[in-house]
Every structure is written in structure tokens, then in C-alpha cells.
Amino acid sequence: MKSAVLVFPGINRERDMARTLRLISGQEPAMVWHTETALPAGTDLVVIPGGFSYGDYLRCGAIAARAPIMDAVRAHAARGALVLAVCNGFQIACEAGLLPGVLMRNKALKFICKNIYLRVERSDTPFTRGYNAGQVVCVPTAHGEGNYVADAETIARLEGEGRVAFRYVAPDGTLDPQWNANGSTNAIAGILSEGRNVLGLMPHPENHVEAEIGLTDGRGLFAGLVDYFKQAA
């Protein structure tokens, strides 16, 4: 799996992401600066990592979404190739039009930095094949603006087409407003593009992949991706 991690000014999770990709795929990811206009040849997976691109100026992800490299990312996605967008990456993907909707300020106005529980809604995508549908995973989250909002028509389409990949749930997997800390519509934590080749999610699975750190629940996402490309080869 040849991966490319985008780097924008103000991003701070790119090294965590690169470490995880290296660890699980066994291949060194390319780090791609935002002023580039092309992705490295043969890139299988583009990753837009987390952080605070441009200090969250204007709107989270708004300026990064207009960076030169993003045309190449849109073309990559338009070909049906995979894009994983985490945290600020999710915000950037929404602003870039790769995914619908927008991430608004957390409902309770607090920056949320803690482990949370996600329910995997479907396992038949390249991103979630390492999990079972309905499985609950514990991963860290760290964001001030993760409250997913879209118009009613978009939400209905996402739900109808089965494009909600992850939801915030209680540890037992049930929906509970108390465990939807940022107030996202329908407890949405992660969504897929129409072609199911772009995944945006707020939490950080890349930070729960090594036993030394604690939990390894995030591993399934990356192991599933590596497996997907092995099967395709």
C-alpha cells in the first residue's frame, strides 16, 4: 500500500499518521507538502491528517482545502482511489467538496480530548473491512469543531445510502446523547463519499495501534486497508 500523507502549515498529527502507516503497511508513506501539484506516482491511499491547518483561520480546514495539492487529491478521488481524512482532515475534505456537510463548533463549546466509543456501521468498505458491522471500538478524539451538520436532505441521503461509517455510541454500542459529546447530527462520527472511496472521521484511530500505548482498536482500519490492497494486487 503506497500512501501519501498531506502536510499543511499548522497540521500536527502527520507524524502519528506516518508512524502508523509505516508500522502496519511496512511501507514508508510519502509526505506531500501542500504546494505540490501532483501526488507521487502510484499512490494508493491519500491521507489528510489532523491538526490545526492555518490555525483554523476563517473556518476549520477552509484555507487548506484550497491549497494547490487539493486539485490532485480531487482527481485521485474522482478516479475512485482512496482518501482517508481524519479530524482536521475531515474538515478539509468537507471544505474541499470531497464530502458533504460541515463540522461545526462542539455543541457544549468545549474542546473534547478523551477516548470515545465508535460503532462501526458497516464492514463492506476498504476502510472498515478490518472490523465487523456493529463492532464497538475505543479510539481517542481531540477536537473543538466536530459537530457534524448538513441539511436534512443530505442527512437523509447519507443514511439512505448507508454512508455513515462510524457513530458515537455508549460503550455497549447503544446510541446515547451523553456519548455524542460534540452534538453531531445522528451521532455521525465518520462518513463515506458516494463512491465509498473517501472516508472522513473526527476521531484518531491512528493513535490506538500499539499495545505499549494502551488500546489497539484503531489497528483494524489500517490493517483492513493493507489487506484490501493485497487482495486487489
Binding site: 484550497r66 456537510g101 461545526m104 463548533r105
Partner: protein, 80 residues
């Protein structure tokens, strides 16, 4: 030419920042505040004197960057 683009949240979009400001105004004893919605103002200088051209460029700026039209409305004023 001087221009101003005002970006505001669409009605129905939750504005927690506005709510927090509303609460703070109430706690300061500022009476009669029914509600607060927070927005953004961009003061922009445009080269030349072509008013229609300036409005067209500001519309482009608002659509492409200044506003996220999923959640925000914008208003353009060119003051000449």
C-alpha cells in the same frame, strides 16, 4: 473601492458561540437581549472603479472562500 462582505449563519444552524455570548451579555446585566448570532465581516479594497466588476469578483470571493454556503449566507456592499 472599499467593500464589505458580511457572512452570517443561516437560520436554523445552531450557533453555540452566539449562545455563549448571549449568556455572557445576560450575566453582565445587559437587558433586553433576545438572542445573539455571531458572524464575520471582511473589509476588502478592490482595485479600479468598476462597480459591477467589483461586485462580481466579491461574489466569486464569497462563493469560493469567504462563506461556506452549506451553513452561511453572505451580503456584499460596495461603498464606492
Amino acid at each position: 473601492m472599499k467593500a464589505r462582505v458580511t457572512v452570517t449563519l443561516k437560520s436554523g444552524i445552531l450557533d453555540p458561540q452566539g449562545k455563549a455570548i448571549e449568556g455572557a451579555l445576560k450575566s453582565l446585566g445587559v437587558d433586553g437581549v433576545a438572542s445573539v448570532r455571531q458572524g464575520k465581516v471582511f473589509d476588502i479594497e478592490i482595485d479600479g472603479n468598476d462597480r459591477a466588476g467589483a461586485e462580481a469578483r466579491l461574489k466569486e470571493a464569497a462563493e469560493k472562500l469567504l462563506a461556506n454556503t452549506v451553513i452561511e449566507n453572505y451580503r456584499i456592499e460596495v461603498s464606492g
